[in-house]
């Protein structure tokens, strides 16, 4: 028995709010539908919510993102190009994630984030173009392909090691070596300096684990140019590399006073 679409719900409260209260379904309709699951079609009264939701085109739940829902369906690299050529990495980073969501399809836009399995819908060309722009404007320091190279060749596909290397995790001052995620945006580096770690940008958040990033970095878009430089480290595919203790160099940022946010 189908019921309300939850994921859309959070993203559209702003829409619902605009509805005059008398148009919202009468009270009794909110009770759990008791009709049997005889049909798969959405006839249940309780669906009124999801139907309003489905008309929406918003994709982000966050007012803080700089994207504008109404135009978000179009894919254009202009804005990214513009930000990057101005060395405006913070906005470029934001725009990159917006583009990724747009490229991943309508469902991702509604949801506000890309589910790892949607990455396959992104064309090689589009992903390469985005990556190309990043590399071009960062002396090859930023970009997915840069991250991919480190991931595959330097850290044996271990994400913790990757995150430490590219400055997404910070070392904690505990007896055993442990790392925590950096807080977004304050703990990240938004300038292209000498000590900015290679591959630091663009960011992909790890709130929902590492499968999304893993899929992006494994996208066929990046396979062509790399064939020759296949690594020698990543022998063990799954890594099994469980420790956060691997002593890589402490990040150049570790002497700052940080807020304890893991996110980015």
């Amino acid at each position: 028995m189908a019921s309300n679409s939850l994921q859309s719900l959070h993203h559209h409260h702003s829409l619902l709010k605009l509805l005059p209260s008398d148009t919202s379904p009468p009270f009794s309709l909110f009770l759990k539908p008791t009709t049997s699951a005889s049909t798969a079609t959405n006839t249940s009264l309780s669906l009124s919510i999801s139907s309003t939701a489905s008309t929406s085109t918003a994709y982000s739940i966050s007012p803080a993102t700089s994207t504008t829902p109404s135009t978000s369906k179009t894919f254009s690299l202009d804005l990214l190009q513009q930000h990057l050529s101005n060395q405006n990495f913070r906005e470029a980073d934001e725009e990159t994630r917006r583009l990724l969501i747009v490229l991943a399809g309508e469902a991702a836009q509604k949801r506000g984030y890309v589910f790892f399995s949607e990455v396959q819908f992104i064309s090689e060309q589009d992903l390469r173009d985005i990556d190309g722009l990043w590399r071009k404007h960062s002396n090859n320091k930023f970009g997915y392909s840069v991250q991919r190279r480190i991931w595959r060749q330097k850290v044996g596909k271990d994400f913790t090691k990757l995150f430490i290397k590219i400055g997404w995790m910070k070392k904690l001052d505990t007896e055993v070596e442990q790392h925590n995620y950096r807080s977004f945006p304050s703990e990240f580096i938004w300038e292209l300096d000498d000590d900015t770690p290679e591959g630091h940008l663009p960011l992909t958040n790890a709130l929902r684990g590492t499968q999304l990033l893993s899929t992006i970095l494994s996208h066929p878009a990046f396979e062509v140019e790399e064939e020759a430089e296949e690594d020698e480290v990543g022998g063990d595919e799954k890594g099994g590399l469980k420790g956060l203790r691997d002593s890589s160099n402490p990040s150049p940022l570790s002497n700052r006073v940080f807020k304890t946010d893991y996110s980015f």
């Binding site: 409260h13 994630r97 399995s117 899929t215 890594g239 956060l244």
Partner: protein
């Protein structure tokens, strides 16, 4: 994508001062935990830092991140909302709601501040909370179930309740629920009113039904109420609506909720008619997937959708793909705080597993689990394993649990059940920084309680962001969780022939004679029996030898010459490069062990894995800690990492042998005692890294639930209990037997002229048996009166009976071999000896005593005093009990002596009643008139017990676990106290740590404490002891439901108080008048296991001690205060800090290591052992800074110990005694106290024994003697051990080594114990040869131990004896080295 993180939430600029505080505090938190310590000397300075910084609590987050103060440019009326919740997931949703309201509302401006329940522990936070309430309009509370905090909330809100416009409390403790008020609607009558509304709460109070009926009410009531005209009904309706809004949780719902409540109840807004929408309701329970267009109420429909997914690859759509059930909390979904859930779903799917994520809003998930995960047609599970991401028990959440219901649902499902947990009370960084790991309250609620459902693998998979309160994935933990869940699921999908199993045996202490050590278990025979059964079941165990002896030889490599090859069989040589590539954490081990390969389990070039493979089964030997023989490490290492060889073993098992499961064989190994957080490990914790991805099944002795729990939590084991060997009465032998015979002739002839003559033979024989140490014997030739004769004989008789009736496990248990009927008799007799008032069962002895007009307690007491006729009566009662039980058991036995078909036999017996075998038996004794009804009750109970004792589920449960099925959970403990421990073969669990001490435990504790004080006064000139140093054991407290914990409370004169849910979180004072004696000071040394399991109770004890120290009472009536004042002055600290009495090891570290030092003979003098004790055991728990974990407080520890006049321990069950295990002497501080005392006086050492109906407090030396007589020197015992062969020799050697341990720590071992042992095992040539040929390595150790006892001055003996020992030593040495003479 990052949009979620850069959430709409920003801190308000109006409070700049508070703005900086969170970050500041967090920064400081880093130094909270001792930093990487290179030199031990730097430790003390760090401690100062700990005390000085932070609030010392578990969480440092503050309400300020949840405060929104609107700008309110238009001067709208302000509504201030204050909330307190357990569920941080409401934070972001509420914040979003309030921000949206402020943006759009033209009627009001909303100010909000929120508190997470745990933050209220902090005094300054609590003050701010009270202050916030002063001008608040609306208070909201939810899921407040922690009593102390509930009371704080209650006090604060109560003060403002009348003034507040609305108070809304959703499911919480009744005390808080009563605060509810909405207009005329109030819950202040909750629990008292007769109205049906409140009756509902009352009736359902007992179960998780409470919350669920509330939900049901929510669904049905508003519909009815809506049409009721009265204001009252209107208010009630709005309350229900509020609850609906709240449970609907989305920012929209919360917005409308706030509009409704403020519009209806805030006076300034009343005229404004603020419009609100009705709540948007979601399914109460169903199936949710982030990609699905809707939620489902039917798994088939959901799977249909799954099949149409465009994004899913073929692997995932494959009908044969593994399917994992996920259990989610609805509130996380509706509030949109589900990133961590999405992470798990993505990880599972990326690994090719389908998921069925189900959720429920109530606290009872048993219904949804059955509804959505079991195919309604086939009644089979649609999933291969289930992972609960809620952290809660399946039924009852944080409120009252219903474990039987959960077990019923999970049994139907019959797949492995994992309960992972998100951080609730701590932020990610706080957890990472904590050496304890997960917050103790969360451990109680989300680790201990799910274990009672059979939940496994408490993996912390989600962290919490301090700013937004949102959960987020911990990517490595999610990986660990998902891989493990899939691998558990894979077991069922893989054929038995293909399944690979790694059986791991232990070698502890590390000596060849010790390979295959496990408490009470004949390991190799058991492995052999397991393998035979697995072979029959279809597993590939190619090449399995014919006998278990051959199996031993295969592994120990003694094939040709039994005494030659010293090496174990090498199964694999792992090169260093290979090791490093397979073991990601290898570099972390270098700090302690240098570069690989090192010299342990290594040939200098390769790492060596010992063991042997048979088909798909590998039998391997777990490496040892590696530092056992290194006194410096034992002394200084707070904890030491595993060595490279240890890591290599598990890398081999996981990645080269590619085991589908590992079976750790018996109690217990080293893996789970490796350093790391106590509970809720991170990527950097060694047990987690070592076990890796392998499903772990662990055979564990049923009587050791505490250490089994450590294995569960720290090595993710499915612990399967095994029975301890059948107990027998120790019986009498040699001189003791003669004494007994003489006494019986004395009884028949005492009035003849032969009386005095017999008495003098009794006395001289008793003296030969060294009974003069226990009973005061008259000098030889001394004239004694007839009355005195009776008393002397009575006392000796009583002692003899005590020895005779002692229970001892004979031989070693073999898995899959239940005891024979007659072997069960002694156990049953002891089960029958306990009154069980809760089940209305009278004990057999008390029934029999009544028959002759006596009260059994009186008989016990008089017999203890040595009154001959009562000793005799007690013996007759004991004999009659044994006879009656034997007669009963015989009736249920076949002609082979095996118990058959108890059920049938029983019903035929009980059905007719006329031929009751116990009546038949008793009719020929003096107890023929015993009460038949009472007898029938007790024998019916014994019948049930017998059925359980002989049930054989140990192999069955193992097969179930390996088949990827659910193994039913059951308590561990002593089958005599708690027959629910039976049948074995259950997934052992401990108990709800907050449930102890129980009232009954408190009762028995009083008796023991009073006896202890009585005894001490008698030995000490009538003076009360000022301080008692005692030990708290995990297992002891589980078995007795907290008796020893209660003893501590009673010594200092306080009583535990339970809350509504029966949780003990408070104590209250017992007045001095009531106590009738001074409060006695204590020094409590908690075992590392106790600390892991019962840190809440350590907290409780510490609070109690500090409370008592602060009482305004005279020093001679309150020794706690007296000493604390002295110590405060001496140390220049406050009295609270001086009143530090609750000690243990540092987090992640166990034992004083004295046991290891003794077992390996690696110590110089007693001083060194005492230093070890002090350096490892002086870590205190501080209730004023619980978050700091264990902090070193050595000075106070030493000072407190120096005041001790008595040391004291409890024996926890009849079959484990002082010399059976090394941990009793390991924790004994008797000699240490003597050394610390200014007067160098030796404290009295006592041991309490409540294992039998007649509780005793004995001196330590009495207990050591009793133990030596019943075990080491008792032919029944050592012959029983010898019949187990190889392992049996080791058991004998272990008892002697442990005896030396007692000499070393307490000096309470008599010379004759060693002397007798020497004549039994060495002087007896035949015996000696048997020992030597059965297990030469253990025999060598035995000889060495004798020499050591002499060398260290614990045993004085003839030069001749020593010469012989030396000669034997070199002889056996040569044999082992293969030198033929």
């Amino acid at each position: 994508m990052a949009s979620l993180v850069s959430s709409p939430f920003t801190l308000q600029s109006t409070k700049p001062d508070q703005l900086s505080s969170p970050s500041q505090k967090h920064y400081f938190l880093h130094s909270f935990v001792p930093r990487k310590i290179k030199q031990t000397s730097s430790r003390s300075s760090l401690k100062v830092k700990c005390a000085a910084i932070g609030n010392g609590l578990f969480t440092q987050t503050t309400q300020e991140v949840r405060r929104i103060v609107p700008e309110n440019n238009q001067n709208l009326p302000t509504v201030k909302i204050v909330y307190v919740v357990l569920e941080a997931q409401y934070q972001s949703s509420l914040t979003a709601a309030v921000q949206a309201l402020n943006k759009s509302s033209k009627d009001a401006s909303y100010e909000v501040v929120g508190y997470l329940v745990e933050e209220l522990r902090d005094e300054s936070t609590y003050k701010t909370f009270c202050k916030d309430l002063e001008d608040a309009n609306i208070f909201i509370g939810s899921l407040i179930f922690v009593e102390e905090l509930a009371l704080k909330v209650k006090t604060a809100v109560e003060k403002e309740r009348d003034r507040l416009d609305a108070v809304l409390v959703f499911p919480s403790m009744p005390e808080v629920m009563r605060l509810n008020k909405l207009g005329s609607f109030s819950m202040s009558q909750l629990g008292q009113s007769k109205s049906p509304f409140f009756q509902l709460f009352k009736r359902k109070k007992q179960g998780a039904g409470f919350a669920d009926s509330m939900l049901k009410l929510v669904r049905t009531l508003p519909k009815v109420l809506k049409y009721l005209p009265s204001d009252k009904a209107q208010d009630a309706r709005l309350y229900i609506l509020s609850l609906q809004f709240w449970l609907g949780g989305s920012p929209d719902n919360l917005q409308n909720f706030l509009k409704m409540v403020s519009g209806s109840y805030v006076p300034a807004l009343k005229g404004k008619k603020i419009a609100y929408s009705d709540p948007v309701l979601f399914l109460d329970s169903g199936i949710w997937h982030p990609l699905a267009p809707c939620m489902y109420e039917d798994a088939k429909e959901y799977l249909n959708w799954y099949g149409t997914r465009r994004d899913a690859n073929e692997k995932l759509k494959d009908p044969n793909a593994p399917v994992i059930g996920l259990v989610l909390q609805r509130s996380h979904i509706v509030t949109g705080d589900e990133s961590h859930y999405v992470a798990v779903i993505m990880e599972m799917e990326a690994r090719g597993a389908k998921v069925i994520p189900i959720f429920a809003g109530g606290l009872d998930f048993s219904g949804p689990v059955e509804r959505y995960l079991i195919d309604p047609v086939t009644k089979k599970a649609m999933v291969n394993s289930v992972v609960s991401l809620t952290g809660f028990a399946l039924v009852g959440g944080p409120a009252r649990q219903d474990h039987p219901r959960a077990i019923e649902a999970l049994s139907k499902l019959d797949v492995p059940y994992i309960v992972a947990l998100p951080l609730v009370f701590q932020t990610t960084e706080e957890w990472l920084n904590s050496t304890l790991g997960v917050h103790p309250i969360q451990v109680a609620l989300q680790v201990a309680l799910p274990e009672l459902d059979g939940g496994m693998e408490p993996i912390v998979f989600a962290g919490r962001d301090p700013r937004t309160g949102k959960s987020h994935a911990l990517h490595k933990r999610v990986e660990q969780l998902c891989t493990r869940a899939i691998r558990w699921g894979e077991l069922k999908r893989k054929s038995k022939t293909a399944r690979k199993l790694a059986i791991t045996v232990f070698s502890f202490p590390p000596d060849k004679g010790n390979v295959g050590t496990a408490a009470y278990l004949n390991v190799f025979s058991s492995i052999f029996s397991v393998l035979k059964e697995l072979k029959r079941d279809g597993y590939n165990v190619e090449g399995l030898p014919e006998t278990s002896e051959a199996l031993i030889e295969d592994i120990l490599h003694d094939k040709e010459a039994q005494f030659s090859s010293p090496n174990l069989n090498i199964a694999y040589k792992m090169g260093v490069r290979e090791y490093q590539s397979l073991t990601s954490y290898a570099t972390a081990l270098e700090e302690n062990w240098g570069k690989p390969p090192g010299n342990l389990n290594s040939d200098g070039e390769n790492l060596l894995v010992y063991g042997k493979q048979y088909g798909n089964v590998f039998i391997g030997v777990q490496p040892t800690f590696g530092y056992e023989g290194d006194p410096m490490r034992l002394l200084f290492s707070k904890s030491a990492s595993p060595h490279h060889g240890f890591a290599a073993y598990y890398s081999f098992v996981e990645k080269i042998f590619k085991a589908d499961a590992v079976l750790h064989f018996g109690t217990h190994g080293s893996l789970e005692f490796m350093p790391g957080k106590q509970v809720g490990m991170s990527d950097a914790c060694f047990p987690d890294s070592l076990i890796g991805n392998i499903p772990n099944v662990y055979y564990y002795a049923a009587n050791n639930p505490s250490e089994a729990t450590i294995a569960k939590r720290r090595s993710y084991a499915n612990t399967i209990s095994y029975l301890t060997p059948p107990a027998e009465n120790a019986g009498l032998y040699k001189g003791l037997k003669q004494v007994s015979e003489l006494i019986s002739s004395y009884q028949s002839l005492k009035d003849t002229g032969r009386g005095p003559q017999i008495v003098s033979s009794i006395i001289s024989t008793a003296r030969q048996c060294n009974l003069d140490k226990d009973v005061e014997l008259p000098e030889e030739g001394q004239e004694i009166s007839a009355k005195e004769r009776d008393l002397v004989v009575g006392k000796i008789y009583s002692k003899i009976m005590e020895i005779e009736s002692r229970l001892l496990p004979c031989g070693l248990h073999v898995i899959g071999e239940p005891p024979s009927a007659m072997e069960a008799v002694a156990t049953l007799v002891n089960i029958a000896a306990l009154d069980r008032p809760e089940d209305e069962i009278s004990s057999l002895p008390s029934i029999l005593a009544e028959t002759v007009g006596r009260n059994i307690e009186d008989v016990y007491r008089e017999s203890d005093r040595g009154i001959l006729k009562d000793v005799e009566l007690l013996r007759q009662i004991t004999d009659a009990s044994r006879g009656a039980v034997s007669a009963f058991v015989q009736k249920t036995t076949n002609n082979k002596g095996q118990v058959v078909d108890v059920a049938d036999k029983l019903s035929s017996i009980l059905g007719f009643g006329i031929n009751e075998p116990w009546i038949d038996y008793l009719s020929s004794t003096k107890f023929y008139q015993a009460d038949r009804d009472k007898l029938r009750t007790v024998f019916r109970f014994l019948g049930e017990c017998l059925k359980l004792i002989v049930a054989d589920n140990e192999l069955g449960s193992l097969k179930q676990a390996l088949d990827g099925k659910y193994v039913e959970p059951g308590p561990g403990g002593d089958p005599i106290r708690n027959p629910k421990v039976l049948p074995t073969g259950k997934n052992i669990h401990a108990l709800d740590p907050q449930s102890i001490p129980t009232t009954a435990a408190m009762q028995s504790a009083k008796v023991v404490v009073d006896r202890l004080i009585e005894r001490q006064k008698a030995d000490n000139g009538g003076k009360y002891p000022e301080t008692v140093a005692l030990v708290l054991w995990g297992t002891d407290n589980i078995k007795t439901y907290g008796e020893s914990l209660a003893q501590v409370l009673w010594m200092i004169g306080v009583m535990p108080v339970a809350d509504t849910f029966g949780r003990v979180n408070r104590v209250e004072l017992v007045s001095l008048e009531e106590l009738g004696r001074p409060r006695i000071d204590v020094v409590v040394n908690c075992s590392g296991v106790f600390r892991d399991l019962f840190i809440n109770q350590m907290n409780l004890l510490d609070r109690a001690v500090k409370m008592v120290a602060e009482l305004d009472e005279p020093a001679d009536q309150n020794f706690v205060r007296k000493h604390a004042l002295e110590q405060a002055e001496a140390l220049g600290v406050g009295i609270r800090e001086a009143a530090t009495r609750i000690f243990s090891n540092a987090s992640g570290s166990y034992s004083s290591n004295i046991n290891l030092a003794v077992e390996n003979s690696s110590w110089n003098d007693e001083k060194q052992l005492q230093d070890m004790y002090l350096s490892r055991k002086s870590f205190a728990f501080d209730c004023d800074a619980p978050g700091a974990g264990m902090a070193e407080k050595r000075k106070v520890f030493e000072m407190a110990l120096s005041t001790a006049e008595a040391t004291f321990q409890n024996l926890d069950s009849s079959e484990i005694s002082l010399t059976d295990v090394s941990h009793y002497f390991d924790s004994d501080p008797t000699n240490l106290v003597q050394n610390l005392r200014k007067d160098k006086k030796k404290p009295n050492a006592y041991v309490a024994d409540t294992t039998t109906a007649n509780a005793q407090v004995r001196t330590l030396s009495e207990t050591v003697r009793l133990d030596a007589r019943t075990k080491l020197l008792n032919p029944k015992w050592y012959e029983g051990m010898m019949s187990s062969g190889y392992e049996g020799v080791r058991e004998i050697e272990k008892r002697l080594t442990n005896t030396v341990g007692w000499s070393a720590t307490s000096g309470q071992v008599d010379n004759w114990v060693y002397e007798e042992a020497n004549s039994t095992f060495i002087q007896d040539e035949e015996m000696m040869n048997r020992l030597m040929s059965t297990n030469p390595n253990s025999f060598r150790k035995l000889v060495q131990t004798f020499l050591e006892a002499n060398g260290r001055g614990y045993w004085e003996t003839s030069q001749e004896n020593i010469e012989k020992l030396r000669q034997m030593y070199s002889e056996v040495e040569d044999k082992i080295e293969g030198i033929d003479r």
